[in-house]
């Protein structure tokens, strides 16, 4: 029977997510290069065709206008049409049914707009309660009350949206930013962070004895690297269950809000100053936006140091995704006889979309590193992919919510192990990052701290 035949790798979701992600990047890059020829600065003609919802305080209709007062409706239509075409082509390429997809996708997109609307309320937004949380909530509310309507199901493709979004996301992971803050930045973000990730994972495995290695890995990565983005990349790389990703993100967002509020006064009380304090914030608070908000509370230097350390840490996401995928296929997914898989088997199991993500990252890093013009073109081109990948992730989180049952989530909370893992890992993170920031900026490179504080 057709169903029993192994699917050709060329028709797999992994491969199609690469084609779709690269297609978006190639179109955006091509359009930017053509439009920028002879122009004074880089121009992306596609930017105006796509939009996110704006912010609002008391009238949700204000979200339909951007900062300049222009309507975002044409941009929303552009996003809907682009993603509908993109994923319809993907499904057709994978030889899957596409007839019911447009209607289902339209309904799912409507829920995604609603989630974005909830996230756009300014109090919510400025407390770092980002759209991932509201997208999950919207999906969970439906699936746990009336159940997911059959009309939505053909479009509930969380993994496909995540993988495609991640390939586009690769263009924003620019490796050459690693030395932005010189060696102090490398030691704080690239030495402490992997150390914390590995030690937290080992603590979860050998001390807490968490049954699910993927849950352990996703929590360890989102706590040590950069919150939601790292959780998405790691969960996809280690094939974590959807409930595990939801749980990791929920814990991370809750602690991020607390740390964003508590850390600035603690830094003031400890008299660490904006450089060491900013580096401490940048290396420990999960979410980039929350890092900026907490760093800003320390003043201009605090904002400068915190966001730069976080940016260097953000870049780790590519290396972490690759390392996790390799670890997973070589050490965790053993053969039935317990033997380590051979090279061909590793290649067969390896989540190929990670290679698409890394390739996009390398290509855009090289372009951005090639000079001012290259940097401007890369930056303008990624405006398109940035908008689309945000919508892809939001569609994915609504889909995850629609597929998740509260009872399934409850089983992961038994004994509070995920929470203990996060708290212990974050305690280690806080200790090691503070020690490294203090060592780097007061003992090893004090002149760097003086330059930044000027």
């Amino acid at each position: 029977m057709e169903e029993n035949r192994p699917r050709s790798p060329w028709r797999s979701e992994d491969v199609w997510s690469i084609w779709l992600g690269w297609a978006v990047l190639a179109v955006a890059l091509g359009a930017t290069m053509v439009a920028s020829t002879g122009a004074e600065k880089a121009v992306n003609p596609l930017t105006g065709m796509l939009a996110d919802l704006g912010g609002w305080v008391s009238n949700p209709l204000d979200a339909l206008r951007d900062k300049n007062g222009a309507s975002v409706l044409p941009g929303l239509v552009g996003v809907f049409a682009s993603l509908l075409v993109l994923f319809s082509v993907g499904l057709a390429g994978m030889r899957e049914r596409t007839r019911e997809f447009p209607l289902a996708f339209a309904a799912l997109f409507g829920l995604t707009v609603f989630a974005y609307l909830l996230a756009g309320q300014k109090v919510v937004k400025h407390l770092n309660l980002e759209y991932a949380l509201w997208a999950l909530t919207v999906g969970l509310l439906i699936s746990n009350t009336i159940g997911t309507p059959a009309i939505l199901k053909p479009a509930v493709r969380a993994e496909f949206y995540i993988k495609t979004g991640l390939v586009m996301f690769g263009a924003e992971v620019l490796f050459h930013q690693l030395l932005k803050l010189g060696l102090p930045g490398v030691f704080i973000a690239w030495v402490v962070t992997p150390t914390v990730l590995i030690l937290t994972y080992l603590f979860g495995q050998y001390v807490l004895k968490i049954e699910s290695k993927s849950l352990n890995l996703v929590i360890s990565a989102d706590m040590s690297v950069c919150g939601v983005s790292a959780a998405i990349a790691t969960a996809a790389a280690c094939k974590a269950k959807k409930e595990e990703l939801s749980l990791a993100i929920g814990i991370s967002l809750a602690f991020t809000v607390i740390m964003m509020v508590v850390m600035p006064p603690v830094i003031g009380w400890l008299e660490l100053g904006p450089v060491v304090g900013g580096a401490w914030i940048g290396g420990t608070i999960d979410s980039t936006g929350a890092v900026a908000a907490a760093g800003d509370a320390l003043g201009e230097t605090g904002l400068l140091v915190a966001t730069t350390v976080k940016m260097i840490q953000n870049i780790l996401i590519g290396a972490v995704a690759f390392a996790v995928a390799m670890y997973w296929v070589t050490c965790v997914e053993k053969s039935p006889d317990g033997a380590r898989p051979g090279l061909i088997e590793i290649w067969r199991r390896f989540p190929k979309f990670v290679l698409g993500f890394i390739a996009a990252s390398i290509a855009f890093s090289l372009l951005s590193k090639s000079g001012d013009q290259g940097e401007a073109i890369a930056s303008a081109a990624t405006a398109t992919s940035k908008t689309l990948r945000g919508w892809c992730f939001c569609l994915a989180f609504v889909s995850i919510g629609l597929e998740t049952n509260f009872r399934e989530l409850k089983q992961y909370l038994v004994g509070g192990k995920p929470l203990i893992l996060y708290v212990c890992g974050q305690a280690l993170n806080l200790t090691l990052t503070l020690a490294m920031a203090w060592l780097m900026f007061t003992k090893v490179y004090p002149n760097a701290a003086a330059s930044l504080a000027k």
Partner: protein, 99 residues
């Protein structure tokens, strides 16, 4: 991220059937939506008018800080910060351990 095999009822939300002592599924959804409406249209706008919250939001917006950003590329202030850090590092590369 494959899901483990689940009963079809779980995949489509096991709470979709009425249970004794609990409101009907449609009523539960309506209650949730009503709660969302009250929170987002009444409570949160009222919180936004509190002077400390208003000051925080204004300060973030003035400094290009978007606390909901998930990656550095989503921060409005990042290009400016990046340029400033480049200037500082290039002025004294030795201070940062670079030649």
């Amino acid at each position: 991220m494959p899901l483990p095999p689940l009963p079809s009822s779980a995949m489509s939300g096991s709470a979709s059937t009425s249970e004794p002592g609990r409101p009907a599924p449609g009523a539960r959804l309506a209650i949730c939506l009503a709660a969302i409406t009250v929170i987002w249209l009444v409570i949160l706008p009222a919180i936004a008018q509190v002077s400390t919250v208003r000051t925080m939001i204004d300060r973030h917006e003035a400094h290009g800080v978007d606390p909901s950003a998930k990656f550095y590329s989503e921060l409005p202030a990042m290009p400016m910060i990046s340029q400033r850090v480049d200037e500082i590092r290039r002025a004294e590369p030795e201070a940062f351990g670079l030649k």
